[in-house]
């Protein structure tokens, strides 16, 4: 063959070799392009499962889901449309439509943007039929929470779109996802939310779906969120709400045998639907700014108050266990007693120089008896600090002075002082037991939350142990996914035998004592009134306000089914407001109906709003 032809053939072969080499590099050696092709074309779409429902203990539906519709649009697929018709169907204004469309175009021409948010089913019906007239628009279904009760907003909580922080914290969430922000919606978020499904799509360069990716072999199916059954008795909860109208405070009802919270009322409250639906953001701001009524504060879980007289039960129990008081122990009460040169503890028990024995001391709430018991506990040890720490340990085991760890996301520690507390205040070794004497009667430095006090009532009812209060009863109809922490009894360290005396005293409170006007026929209840002093600052002056009314109770005496704590801000004596409310709650729960209609009428007619109106915006509930 001609030599020049060979040269040309060589040139062709060389070129083909270069091309082949490059193709080999691109297609076999370099892996980068495979990922890029996937990134280009394969788009994930998440299928958001339906959120779990919430029921009360009697299987009444409390929270379900309501479909709600967003009108979305992809700017590049839009064509000219009849604006007037669109406005008519969706009910938005022309200005808002123009604004939304401009925003959508700025965001992305090929991706969907929200044009009209949150339309209800009846509002979307017309548009749904005529959507073909508006190319580029489509309707996206979402769900919001639908509430079947006007009560228990503090327990149920609410859901909201995730914020930046939550997005960063948990990769489960994507922008626009909903997340529980309070109540069980928050604490059981992972159970309620279910599992998202993923669908992989192939998309073209305009981001349009052109088919499933690898026949869906990587797709996952979504799992519907699990249903919650709460221990809340919604009838009781709603009844509690009605009792707390025109009052501020909290009602906590617990089943002592299980620690299940039957009712968790905080007043003033708000209906849960207030934070769902179209005006939820507006409503939230309204609630948030109301610093006078502070409806977002859960007074039952977060409010810290001096417990007052109910706290005496604990000092009695510790005294018995520490054997500083016993069968024959008595203290002489003479309108109180002097515990220092110029210090006098007043008492209204009316013993007037007579001996005071235990059950009676409770019935009459003798300050002398319990403050002396408290002093004896502390002075039993070589140093009051040691005695105080022993006392502190007992109270700790009752769930006081630290978080109770209920299954609701909020709470307060309260305060039970220990030796460090007074060492800091007075200096190490420079204080005596008597300096802290007010702790003996539940005043002084001691602070508890209503739920802690209700838990104490349950522990007394159980004679020595309690289950940490919780609102969860079942998850998807079974108890097996419930945190065993709530199924384990916690022992107080007080022997069972010592409780009988205290319980007898508490029963006497109903029979003959401060709560005798509230007693129920046929059912033997146990209770203890409390009255806690408080002051507030009005126009810069410290003014003494009407006392907080407190009542701690359980019943029936022999087989306790319910333990209650009622706390009414500025309600006066424990016997006047709190005791009737607690009794009505117990009667409602135990009997299912109210026989003490006179009591009910009295409570319903109690209106404390005039008292609250004197108060400056900032309460000073601590003494």
């Amino acid at each position: 063959m001609n030599q020049k032809a060979v040269v040309i053939i060589f040139l062709i072969l060389l070129t083909s070799l270069i091309i082949t080499g490059r193709l080999f590099y691109l297609q076999i050696l370099d892996k980068e392009y495979k990922d890029l092709a996937l990134k280009n074309a394969v788009k994930k779409e998440y299928i958001i499962p339906e959120r779990g429902y919430i029921y009360d203990r009697n299987n009444n539906l409390l929270v379900s889901n309501l479909p709600i519709y967003d009108v979305m649009a992809v700017p590049n697929r839009m064509k000219a449309f009849d604006t007037l018709e669109f406005l008519k169907y969706t009910g938005i204004t022309k200005e808002n439509l123009i604004k939304a469309l401009d925003k959508a175009k700025k965001y992305s021409r090929n991706k969907a943007s929200l044009i009209v948010p949150k339309l209800y089913k009846n509002e979307i019906a017309l548009l749904q039929e005529k959507i073909y007239k508006f190319p580029g628009f489509f309707i996206q279904r979402r769900a919001i929470r639908k509430y079947h009760t006007k009560s228990a907003a503090n327990v149920l909580g609410f859901i909201r779109e995730v914020n930046e922080k939550e997005l960063k914290k948990d990769p489960f969430y994507l922008p626009g996802d909903l997340i529980g922000k309070a109540g069980v919606e928050k604490s059981y978020e992972k159970i309620l939310r279910g599992k998202k499904g993923v669908k992989y799509y192939l998309t073209d360069k305009f981001n349009r779906k052109i088919g499933s990716y690898k026949n869906g072999q990587f797709d996952t199916i979504s799992e519907v969120g699990k249903d919650l059954q709460l221990s809340i008795d919604i009838k009781l909860q709603e009844f509690g709400d009605s009792l707390m109208v025109n009052k501020r405070g909290a009602i906590i009802a617990i089943e002592p045998a299980t620690g299940e919270i039957l009712a968790l009322v905080t007043a003033p409250g708000f209906p849960p639907e207030y934070l769902s639906g179209r005006s939820s953001s507006k409503n939230f701001n309204k609630l948030f700014r109301d610093k006078i009524n502070n409806p977002l504060l859960d007074r039952g879980l977060q409010g810290e108050y001096p417990p007052g007289s109910p706290f005496k039960m604990l000092n009695g129990l510790i005294g018995l266990q520490e054997k500083v008081i016993g069968q024959g122990t008595y203290f002489v009460c003479n309108y109180g007693f002097n515990y220092g040169k110029h210090s006098h503890m007043f008492c209204h028990c009316g013993a007037n120089g007579r001996r005071v024995y235990l059950p009676w001391a409770i019935e009459k709430s003798c300050n002398t008896y319990f403050s002396k018991t408290y002093l004896n506990i502390l002075n039993k040890y070589s140093e009051p600090s040691k005695g105080l720490d022993v006392w502190h340990d007992y109270l700790s085991r009752f769930g006081l002075g630290h978080y109770l760890h209920t299954d609701l996301p909020i709470g307060s520690k309260g305060l039970i002082p220990d030796s460090k507390f007074y060492d800091r205040y007075y200096g190490k070794g420079r204080w005596k037991a008597s300096y802290t004497i007010s702790n003996g009667i539940g005043q002084g430095e001691v602070l508890t939350t209503p739920i802690q006090l209700a838990n104490v009532a349950a522990a007394i009812a159980n004679k020595g142990y309690y289950y940490t209060p919780h609102v969860i009863k079942k998850i998807n109809g079974s108890q097996k996914d419930i945190d065993t922490f709530y199924l384990r009894p916690k022992y107080t360290g007080i022997d069972k035998q010592y409780f009988d005396k205290i319980i007898n005293g508490m029963a006497a409170v109903y029979k003959y004592g401060t709560a005798r006007y509230s007693q129920l026929p046929d059912i033997e209840l146990c209770g203890k009134t409390g009255t806690s002093e408080n002051k507030t600052r009005i126009n810069g002056k410290i003014v003494k306000m009407p006392d907080h009314s407190i009542f701690m109770a359980f019943g029936p005496k022999n087989h306790p089914e319910i333990a209650v704590t009622v706390f009414v801000e500025n309600g006066g004596y424990g016997a006047t407001v709190a005791a009737p409310i607690a009794t009505l709650i117990m009667e409602k729960y135990l009997r299912g109906k109210i026989t003490r209609t006179d009591l009910l009428k009295k409570v319903l007619n109690t209106d404390l709003t005039p008292v609250y109106q004197q108060k400056a915006p900032k309460n000073n509930e601590k003494q």
Binding site: Q27, Y33, L202
Partner: protein, 420 residues
Amino acid sequence: MRNSRKPSIFDYDWISVLLFNLLVFIGIISIYSTTYNQSHTNIFQTYYGKQILWFVFSYVLIIFIGFVSIRSIKNNASLLYLIGVALLILVLIAGANINGNKSWFRFGGFSIQPAEFVKLFTVLGLAKLLTEPDFKISNFKNLLQAIILILVPVFLILLQPDLGSAIIYLSLFLVFYRDGLHISYYLLALLIAVLFITTIYFGQQKILMITTGIFILFNLFTYSKLKKIFWLPVLFVFSISIFTVLGTDFIFHKVLKPHQRNRIEIVLGKKKDDKGTGYNLKQALIAIGSGGLYGKGMLKGSQTEGDYIPEQHTDWILTVIGEQWGFLGTLSVVMLYTFLLIRLIFIAERQKQKFSRMVGYGLVAVLFAHYALNMLMVIGLFPTIGIPLPFLSYGGSSLWAFTLLLFIFLKFDAHRIEDW
């Protein structure tokens, strides 16, 4: 010796015919996978439907060639060339303006790109010139004639403007080599190309210094070895080199348009522009690269089906093959072209007539330029220019022009033993 038998259709080189059919078939399948799912009422409104139609019509052209006497083709070659030039002038006057290019004649819904067909006429005209009695390519005057013959259509096509087609015409200089032009011309052209690219890449100063350095070293070397300096050729090459290096800046910045400049810089890796000018190339590399060894399978390429690559049915058809059939697919296509080109050279070499051999080399040059530049462009080794892949890419003009050229040459080959 005369052969009395009249050559029949069976005397066409069946290997070339087979390769031709294979390439068109691969093309139709690839075009189908880019556009099969577009909704059209009529199959002949789709690209693949149309391409099938063009393919069928190309056989009409083949049959037509069968009836044309080869002698009349040779005798009228000059006339055909002039008609071609006239067509290129006419398209500048009466052509349809598509995206600022006047490259197409439009008849109703039907467009024809004369530059494609004029390749055929230029090849015939060139072959005719080279076979003129007393024509010697080494004669400077004759060489100039031949160069002008090529540069006239190049100039006219640049006016459209269609840089890609114009570059293809320059490939016809390869025919001169076979006709006896000394290789030094090509080496000089290669030197100019290398200097042009390196100057863009490394900058004028560096290349000037290196070129001067090599010049001095070469002289010192030859002097020390042979005690002689070849002043004339060395100075000639040196001055051309310096001229190129100095001219590069001017050509790059003043003559080339910004998008052409961008494309050169992207290939050289000096610029990254995956969203703008470089979008096509980037998406093409993703498509080809993601194909792997075996490819993703027919209609399973996400890049192809997602229509990420504009013009994937025409100039970028290799991406479709690369993604769907992987390295095995692209390698097959490369081998088919290589085999066809070598076969055509083999056929050209067995011609007794210089005219038909020159036509063969013209075909090889044009086909090779199309194949090489298109593939090098798609795999990112050559700046993006609009050149289709012969027989594969969608488009009637390109397919018919190559069909005509190929089958005219094959007809010459079938008649090679005739004394015409």
